[in-house]
Amino acid sequence: MKRSLYALLSLFVLAGLVLAACGGGAATPAPAEPTQAPEQPTEPTPVPDIPIATFDGKSLVVPKEECNGDYAGLFQAIEAVDDYTVKFTLCRPDPAFLSKIAFSPFAIYPSEWLERTAADGKRTSEGLEKPVGTGPYKISEWKRGESVTFKAFENYWGQKPFAETLVIRWQSEAAGRLLELQAGTVDGIDNVGPSDFEVVKKDPNLVLVERPALNIFYIGMTNTFKPWDDVRVRKAIAYGIDRQRIVKNFYPAGSEVATHFTPCSIPNGCVGDPWYDFNPEEGRKLLAEAGFPNGFKTKLYYRDVVRGYLPQVANVAQDVQAQLKENLNIEAEIVVMESGAFIEASTTGKLDGLYFLGWGADYPHITNFLDFHFGASNPQFGNPFPEIYEQLVKGAQIADPKQAEPFYVAANNAIRELVPMVPVAHGGSGTAYRADVTNPQASPLTNEQFAVSDPGGRDVFIFMQNAEPISLFCADETDGESLRACDQVMEALYGYEVNGTAVVPVLAESCEPNADLTVWTCTLRKGVKFHDGTDFTSADVVATFNMGLNIAAPTHAGNTGVWEYYDYLWGLMKKPGK
């Protein structure tokens, strides 16, 4: 009897420990609530969004009047005019239409396959692991935790791949990737470690390809928290951090100090005044004016994840910590957060200190950088700044970069004046290949096309990236590792040139706009076949966009169910429930 009692007691203690570990606290300090945040009432029951699109197999249409109502999306209609012509009608002009439509998540699937692999609101395992596209490779096998193998598609409409077999493997540590390349067990690797650049350059058996810096690393501040609500404090940070020192010491060759938020290679990215020069005296003066002559204590949040825009995150964090102390007498406590929690907290404006974040180009257009971060609906930096977003709205409706320039000058100058964040660097990164690999690539958009590279005459091309793809149904994925794998299999109406950012026709022969950029008519390529042998037609294009945009469609079934890029770049066809 006694023994049973003690056993029960032990179970209670064990359960208590497990519960404490699960819910007793957080791995990282919970971000404080904003100073100006109103009291939160009990969270109301979410009302489901209302679908507004109709689809009949040949057209996907939203009632025209919805464009002036609650519908925030861009597409009013997508119609198959004939078997090889598709017409996209927009609610408002979009000068970045071609750049967006070329992006990997908008690749075209066969309509029958979309129906077959959707069940009960979820994509089947076949749908997630063996997508059917029109690309130069088709999926052969995905050994979870090990590799994805592709085989050349015999009926590919374009140039046949050099290697019959493509294998994508992964390894999270830069040193491990380099070791595999040096050992000759892989033909190419992604993201060479910054300190390994010289090693690769000196090795005659390897070749380094530097990736242009089409990204931004910035130090964010949320203006709903003290002391970041004072623009003088934010400016003091801008003056007090030696960005040149950070780039010189912690970034690889090809990186540059950010003069503006958007990289200069993007039209209108660098118009307006350049960012402040390093001037700690001015920073201390501003801090004193703001009531902090002796500095203050704050936190410095980041996630310990390597990205092209921030290749040595821990080192940069410690350097910024040291600089804040040395230049502004600000004591910053470093707080490393779990990646998902950090993204959630930073992008919703819940971090009360400084934070490290960055952005890599999805498509090469200024709207991809400025509109997302400084738009009216983004709470990331606290209360949005009308001085910035009003200019962005005007600029985004003009196709000609020259005509749009005055609006982006005003927006960039407003960003500089209001300092929602401090742009630090456009980080260069690089890939490395065995010396005999032809056409070695390091795409600025990280969408290397391995079909056009010859691995020294070998039958198998093996590329090693940072991580395993999450799924291969990339219409509903966002991570670069998944998208790169999908890019070998899938094709969109347009694509990006190999190793570049210019858009080139792929499944479309051309897409022509009307005068006010609200209607785009695309003529499709004839004779293209999907991997399952079916012909590519305009019905597949409409069905694919119906799958991604129409929340009522039975085929609107993905992996995450978030449809982030369809939602963020086009807007799902819905209006909010009342």
């Binding site: 032990s10 007793g24 990282t28 300090p29 300190s195 390994d196 010491n249 040291a322 406590e333």
Partner: protein
């Protein structure tokens, strides 16, 4: 000169104390003798004394502030290899015995200051665990019954988890940081000490001199803490010495994982973790902290083994 004659009980007490003192002195003498006969324990002791010296003298021994970023102060590069003038490094270059770390700080100075932290971690966590573990083990062993069962079942629960995994879980709940890491390592170390003390108390409490003390009317506290515990110290000392090594390893592991000491604190585990990717390009940044951890753990293990042999009467003939 006093003409007062001492009373009989006080005389007995004085004799008792003298006898105890003589016995105690001889026990320690024998222990020291045995310990000094073992070369390995001497080596362990020597290393520990050296580490303690380094820890105390770190501000004077370290050529640089361990947090000082040398960018703009000296012409050095990130992750620069060691520069030792005696070994041919040009005299016009600043000397850095263990090179420069990933944040352009002197690795040697950081390693010296790291000694302080590692020893502090070892001693403080073991002290914490010994104090709590001894009290729990002594109470359980002496009183037995439901109290003993309750205490030991909790200890069993703690022991059911791999110690490092439990420490990670505790730090995850409390949040990363050195103090929380110390607390976690201390907590997971408690059961080992509680069990050792309980086992000793269980055997000693039945001995004649304890029964005699009880018969003479000694209080429970006096018997437990004055008579039993002093005689249960031997295994505790051995366990504690070996426990320091484990605690240092656990702390280094937590810091390696980013759960222990936070940057820019110079801690061997975090230094190792921060540069783990540079094992081929800057091996000195991984080698020196790793070697320091290995040396410290080895020293405490050697001393612990030596103490175990020296304090164990059954091994007396072996250690001659």
């Amino acid at each position: 000169m006093s003409d007062t004659t001492p009373s009989a009980p006080s005389q007995i007490a004085a004799l008792d104390a003298e006898a105890l003192s003589l016995e105690s002195v001889s026990l320690w003498r024998i222990t020291w003798k045995r310990l000094f006969r073992r070369k390995s324990s001497l080596v362990g002791m020597g290393i520990i004394l050296l580490l303690v010296f380094i820890a105390i003298m770190a501000p004077w021994l370290a050529p640089y502030d361990p947090l000082q970023v040398l960018i703009g102060i000296e012409d050095v590069k990130m992750r620069q290899a060691p520069c030792i003038h005696l070994l041919g490094c040009p005299p016009d270059q600043p000397q850095h015995l263990m090179g420069i770390d990933g944040n352009v700080r002197d690795q040697f100075s950081r390693l010296l200051y790291g000694t302080r932290l590692s020893l502090m971690v070892g001693f403080s966590t073991v002290t914490f665990a010994i104090v709590i573990g001894t009290v729990l083990g002594a109470l359980g062993g002496y009183f037995g019954g439901w109290l003993d069962n309750a205490i030991m079942r909790v200890m069993d629960v703690l022991l059911a988890f791999p110690s490092l995994l439990l420490a990670i879980a505790i730090v995850t709940v409390l949040g990363p940081g050195l103090i929380n890491a110390l607390l976690a390592i201390g907590i997971v170390s408690i059961p080992a000490y509680a069990r050792v003390v309980r086992a000793s108390v269980l055997s000693i409490r039945e001995m004649d001199y304890v029964s005699a003390s009880r018969a003479l009317g000694g209080s429970t506290a006096h018997i437990l803490f004055g008579r039993i515990l002093p005689n249960a110290l031997t295994p505790l000392i051995v366990q504690g010495t070996l426990g320091i090594a484990t605690a240092i390893l656990d702390a280094a592991a937590l810091s390696f994982l980013g759960l222990g000491a936070q940057p820019p604190t110079p801690e061997w585990g975090s230094m190792l973790g921060a540069e783990r990717n540079q094992v081929f390009t800057a091996p000195h940044l991984v080698f020196f902290p790793g070697f320091a951890i290995m040396l410290t753990v080895l020293a405490f293990n050697l001393l612990g083994d030596g103490l175990r042999d020296a304090l164990d009467p059954r091994l007396a003939h072996v250690s001659k």
